[in-house]
Symmetry: C2
Subunit: 361 residues, 2 copies
């Protein structure tokens, strides 16, 4: 749980946005934003941040929990969410409200317009999605802790990752071990993709058994107190031929150049370019079919995005992934991913596994 | 994966709704609805069902998978979702579209209105949410399979559920065992709530160790090929006193009366009443703080709802839970939940555990 000084400073930053955006209050519906701004970790609710004490609206399941986790708010119980929000707006005399357009549904929006007829609604896209991008020390410590748990679990699962074992069984063991080691949950459905399956960036672990000569892509992470880790290791199973070494070498070079490009003030586009340039120059441009990275925190994917289209600029305290890849249908793929902290001097790698090509099994 | 005849009959049922609703096409965004109507199980996409062949819109990750899983559709790749949908509407000459208001976000809705200026939009609440309520034989078989896996896992975990073991460790073992036995995933975060924690209907398993004299509420389920199971067993740990027997007996009576009330043509409200009446008569009405049940299928909670406010009427082939409870702060709680199939003659219980009071550990 974040401490109260962090919470107040987050709410203050939100209030500064409020003044610039010309609305009297923000209606926050994204549960991760609510957790960030209050400490409340329930599965439903709404937060109203205006001039006064923030109002945290929850249903009957969560009044006790909200009171404990979010002492900086006034907790209000609702039976019907739209009615609860409309009543809180009217009580606060709020007539112009900013909201998260990627979260508010048409259904809830219609109900709110019906129940709070005087209120004008303004979508607030960019500012809010970036509010969590820069992490404070406690958040960084939580991400480190998540990384430590995940890496410990992979280390202790590693000897079971060998020819004859199927992808799904590896995923189950790894997730189980992360939880035994203290993870709230896995960060996402673990990817264990071997042989030709490793050529699919979003493969689901299946019944395929590892074979010598495979690449196996292991994309995994743990959640600790709400904070995610994210790392991808690609290993060669049994042996590595010259094609393995070549492809791995190009991706590793792309990964290292991107790491070097990370620095406060640099645009995310430039970091993407650093990785993509290496892969394009080697003739595999079309085989790198995704962005170079993303922010990591209360969500495993959050601002900033590191892609060719990204306008974001890196700041000190951001935690991001660097994860170039090359995917060759029929043969296999390589992705190399670290989670890094943006510091004054550049990137500090937080993830723990060596990214040199390793032969396992 | 559903067979193609089931898929066609589902799409036909949707088309019948289309004729009644006065729109030319439905835009389906709920991923479970998309899976139901096409077989496609990816994590993003959109489906357009009008007069011609349904159009399944997916991003670059999913074109191959969509082609394999959804042969009844025309698969169209999009780079930007709103643009893809707008283009498909304009290509089909569709000018009046129904949508799911609880799923469509204000952001996507605005983008669609901008990009498809001629199109009029109509929210379609009730009909669509109920389209999956009645299950066919294959779906029922998948739910049974999920139930069998979950029950097998609980049986083999049961001997570890004893005094001194903490809730969280039981949850981890049970979820691990379900996956080892073939589950895609747990149906939801397993609830293991012991002693005073069992008085919280939505408790999260924590570090509390089981003690003799506890109730332990185990609410768990498995997913098999997308279909969920849902069952709650409440056990007495070590011993059961007269208060345990009394509370358990009332909930069991409520559960049994609700089961007897289940029959095609009966309203969900009546089933809720049957359970609630028993608990109210015993003086614990305010301690039964949730509905009596809900539909189960591709979502663990889906139509119909069984509550005091529900307008839905039971039909043959619905699969629903019956799960009354009493929660006594400080002492503990009891919830007894079966998943049942609505048949001509009444409820057929699908879940496998005996619901007589059992002392374990």
């Amino acid at each position: 749980m974040p401490d109260q000084p962090s919470i107040s400073s987050r709410v203050s930053r939100l209030r500064a946005l409020l003044r610039h955006s010309g609305v009297a209050a923000f209606l926050i519906l994204d549960l991760k934003n609510i957790r960030y701004l209050t400490g409340f970790s329930g599965s439903d609710g709404a937060l109203l941040v205006g001039a006064g004490k923030p109002v945290l609206l929850v249903d009957g399941r969560y009044t006790t929990q909200a009171g404990k986790q979010a002492p900086g708010t006034r907790v209000v119980l609702y039976r019907d969410k739209a009615t609860g929000i409309a009543d809180a707006l009217s009580e606060g005399g709020v007539e112009h409200v900013g909201f998260e357009p990627a979260v508010l549904t048409v259904e809830l929006h219609s109900a709110l317009r019906r129940k709070a007829k005087k209120v004008r609604w303004k979508p607030l896209p960019a500012e809010l999605s970036a509010i969590r991008a820069v992490k404070d020390d406690k958040e960084i410590e939580s991400i480190r802790r998540a990384i430590r748990i995940a890496a410990g679990a992979l280390r202790s699962t590693l000897e079971r990752i060998r020819p004859g074992v199927c992808e799904r069984d590896i995923a189950i063991e790894l997730e189980y071990t992360m939880r035994r080691m203290g993870a709230d949950a896995p960060s996402f459905d673990t990817i264990i993709a071997s042989g030709p399956n490793s050529a699919l960036p979003h493969a689901r672990p299946g019944s395929r058994k590892l074979r010598p000569g495979d690449f196996v892509v292991i994309d995994y992470g743990a959640v600790w107190r709400g904070y995610h880790s994210d790392e991808t290791c690609t290993f060669a199973v049994g042996r590595a031929g010259s094609r393995h070494e070549k492809i791995y070498g190009i991706v590793k070079e792309a990964h290292d150049r991107a790491l070097e490009a990370v620095r406060p003030g640099v645009s995310c586009r430039e970091v993407d370019r650093a990785a993509r340039g290496v892969i394009e120059k080697a003739g595999y441009g079309p085989r790198f079919s995704h962005g170079t990275g993303h922010g990591v925190g209360l969500d495993v994917h959050e601002a900033p995005r590191l892609s060719a289209l990204s306008d974001a600029v890196l700041e000190r305290g951001m935690v991001i992934t660097i994860e170039p890849g090359i995917y060759l249908p029929g043969f296999g793929g390589v992705r190399i991913e670290d989670t890094v902290l943006v510091e004054k001097g550049g990137a500090r790698v937080l993830t723990e596994f060596s990214k040199e090509l390793q032969v396992i099994g």
